[in-house]
């Protein structure tokens, strides 16, 4: 037991000389606040939590082992399933890793189209959490508002890829097929619709006094803990960590977008509380919408051209190893590929964002009450599949 357990004198202990006992409460694996099958084993003194331990693995599907018996095209299917809310970003991550090892050039059009789809995926992801997080705090309506906006984006994503969740639009060397006629206009229309209606949602969420009362100063995550646990993404930036791979280690077309005059900017907050994390999400949506518009403008300028490189019938990746990380909506997502010159990877290690982000709960939860536990848990923006892989 850590020293923190001794510090906690809140709760009922000692009130009127009554002896109290601590109770062990299992939050999950089946619990409405855990979005799937995360299990938290908390020890509570009344409502006050004295210790918390995330128990993971209920959704372990052996993704990394399955990577080793699939060829590079089939891997995409697995990759867009570990974090099902960042499906397109995951696909691109795998494709980039393989392309780097192949030293393959990807057509410029494909790069810009991938960037566009990645940012649309980011908007989809953030809108999801913007709807589900208030739901955990008891507000049921933001979910419907956010899904109305998601539907706009889903429609254009679906028109391009045919999928609504697992897009499977990325191929090694480019994309599945060319952009449909007039699609860029429909993307712009969807973006402007979402942009115009977003204040309804953000006003309902961020502008609500009760929500502010539930999230401001709650679950403060300091920068040292962020660094110690390898927390990344919007959660880390809400604690003041000014790191965003789109700017710091540019891939796809982000070098230009986050360059001197580009629309890209890294959103950070200093407070590190639940409200700051939510606030980062909201502003990142705005930034992503700006990036999408920049991408459609550039794709129009580029004009027609190839969107994929020709691949050999049997794609073999030369022996070697390569690590490629990308800034996924929820944090750093990396693939470490070891190839022995075969059609399948020898090893493909996955560094997923949620896995690291959730570990920090052990530090954040003790000392809080059960109601805050839910507020903090929801603000860690995790996907259970991404934790358990």
């Amino acid at each position: 037991m850590s020293s923190r357990d001794v510090d906690v004198t809140l709760g009922a202990a000692g009130v009127g000389g009554l002896s109290t006992t601590e109770m062990v409460l299992n939050i999950g694996p089946q619990h409405p606040a855990t979005h799937g099958v995360l299990r938290l084993r908390i020890t509570a003194d009344g409502e006050r939590i004295t210790a918390a331990e995330p128990v993971i693995g209920y959704m372990h599907r052996g993704a990394e082992k399955l990577f080793e018996v699939r060829d590079y095209r089939q891997i995409m299917v697995l990759a867009n399933r570990h974090d099902w809310l960042s499906a397109f970003n995951n696909e691109v991550g795998v494709a980039l890793t393989v392309e780097h090892l192949l030293e393959m050039e990807v057509p410029e059009r494909a790069t810009w189209a991938r960037t566009l789809l990645c940012e649309l995926g980011r908007v989809l992801n953030h809108l999801m959490f913007l709807g589900s997080y208030p739901h955990e705090l008891g507000a049921i309506t933001p979910m419907f508002y956010s899904f109305r906006e998601r539907e706009e984006i889903q429609a254009v994503m679906e028109e391009y890829s045919g999928g609504r969740m697992h897009f499977m639009a990325t191929r090694v060397g480019g994309l599945l097929h060319d952009l449909p006629e007039g699609w860029l206009d429909r993307v712009d229309a969807a973006v402007s619709t979402v942009r115009s209606r977003l204040p309804d949602l953000t006003g309902l969420v961020l502008g609500n006094e009760i929500l502010q009362g539930r999230t401001r100063g709650i679950g403060v995550l300091d920068l040292d803990t962020v660094l110690a646990y390898g927390v990344s993404g919007p959660i880390a930036r809400a604690s003041g960590l000014d790191v965003d791979l789109r700017r710091d280690e540019p891939y796809l077309a982000y070098g230009e977008l986050f360059g001197e005059d580009g629309p890209g900017r890294v959103v950070t907050r200093e407070a590190g509380d639940c409200y700051a994390r939510l606030d980062v999400l909201v502003e990142q949506i705005q930034v992503s919408l700006d990036l999408v518009e920049a991408c459609t403008a550039r794709l129009r300028d580029l004009g027609p051209g190839p969107i994929s490189s020709r691949l050999p019938k049997k794609l073999k990746v030369p022996a070697g190893e390569h690590y490629c990380a990308s800034e996924n909506p929820l944090g750093l997502n990396g693939y470490y590929l070891v190839s022995r010159g075969d059609t399948v990877p020898h090893r493909l290690k996955l560094r997923s964002a949620s896995f690291n982000n959730v570990q920090v709960l052990r530090e954040m939860l003790p000392g809080t009450v059960v109601a805050d536990m839910v507020a903090i848990l929801g603000s860690m923006f995790f996907v259970v599949g991404d934790i358990d892989k």
């Binding site: 208030p134 008891g138 049921i140 309506t141 009362g213 805050d372 536990m373 839910v374």
Partner: protein
């Protein structure tokens, strides 16, 4: 109105009417909630059962009746099984003392306000029994939350009602409405605000629904309930809303009195009461659509530091008003 009938027949008829109102008004409110929430959230609400989904609540009732009535092995059996009745019956008793028009009241007792407030606070015991008797940690947390919350909100609720009683100089609900005049809307406004907030807390509705928080403690005291017993708890919640809306109408909105006609007897008065009560109930529903829930310590602080002082100030204002005008 029914004075010429034999006593037993009159009592029987009135009881049947109250029971009918007790069973239909909460259902109507539930239906209103389905549709109102649906349209506020940009969707339709349930549409399949009957025209415009009007049969949905009946369908829900049939579903609940069909479900197995499970009593957990760890539960305190008699306590667990009795709890829904303890939660439900007080509202039925209270409803019988609420006047919906000048002569339309089932039991016109002298201190009906006192009776209604006393009886409704018995409902808490049902929630506490459910929380304790379920043998479930979530239920226990929820039951204790409910107990703490209802104890703290009882006081501002009673004080706000006392202010109106003081202004009217009577504890009879019928008498209060007869004394009421339109400028009480301003004079008693703080009490009305306190009463409304406290009644939302009494009903454990959003934003004060921490005792049954589904995403935290999985519906708290209701976690282990299934079938009809669960339905009884739901019915108690909606009957409570009906009762609180009616009580608010009678205390603060002039009950059956319309803006033009002060006669108030008969069907028109009933319609005025129902209209005003519906508006109040819609307010309850709207809160649920618009707001998240507050934490228990926040709602305790709100009760003791905001509502209670406000209610006391209102009492002083009312007292001064009564002395000056009286």
């Amino acid at each position: 109105m029914l004075a010429e009938l034999p006593w037993a027949l009159e009592a029987g008829l009135k009881a049947a009417c109250v029971l009918a109102a007790f069973l239909t008004l909460p259902l109507a409110l539930g239906q209103l909630e389905h549709k109102l929430m649906g349209h506020m959230q940009g969707r339709l609400g349930p549409m399949e059962a009957g025209p415009h989904g009007l049969g949905q609540l009946v369908a829900d009732g049939i579903k609940f009746a069909q479900k197995e009535d499970v009593t957990p092995a760890a539960a305190d059996r008699p306590v667990f099984r009795l709890a829904p009745a303890v939660a439900l019956v007080p509202y039925l008793v209270a409803l019988s003392a609420i006047p919906v028009a000048a002569t339309w009241v089932a039991v016109d007792v002298p201190a009906s306000l006192l009776l209604v407030l006393a009886v409704t606070s018995v409902g808490v015991i049902g929630t506490l029994m459910a929380g304790w008797g379920s043998g479930n940690k979530y239920s226990l947390l929820g039951g204790l939350r409910a107990g703490a919350q209802l104890v703290s909100y009882e006081l501002p609720l009673v004080l706000a009602a006392a202010s109106v009683a003081m202004a009217a100089g009577t504890l009879s609900l019928t008498g209060i409405v007869q004394e009421w005049s339109w400028w009480w809307l301003v004079w008693q406004a703080p009490a009305a605000a306190v009463f409304l907030a406290a009644s939302v807390a009494e009903l454990q509705r959003t934003p004060f629904d921490a005792p049954v928080a589904d995403s935290e403690i999985v519906f708290g005291p209701l976690t282990e309930y299934t079938g009809l017993r669960f339905a009884f708890f739901l019915l108690a919640e909606y009957a409570g809303m009906v009762l609180m809306a009616l009580l608010f109408t009678v205390l603060f909105l002039g009950g059956w009195r319309g803006p033009w006609d002060d006669a108030g007897g008969g069907v028109v008065g009933v319609l005025w009461t129902l209209l005003k009560a519906t508006a109040v109930a819609v307010g309850f529903l709207w809160l649920r659509v618009a707001w998240p829930r507050v934490r228990e310590d926040q709602l305790q602080r709100f009760a003791w530091l905001v509502l209670l002082p406000l209610a006391l100030v209102q009492l002083a204002i009312t007292g001064a008003g009564v002395v000056v005008l009286g």
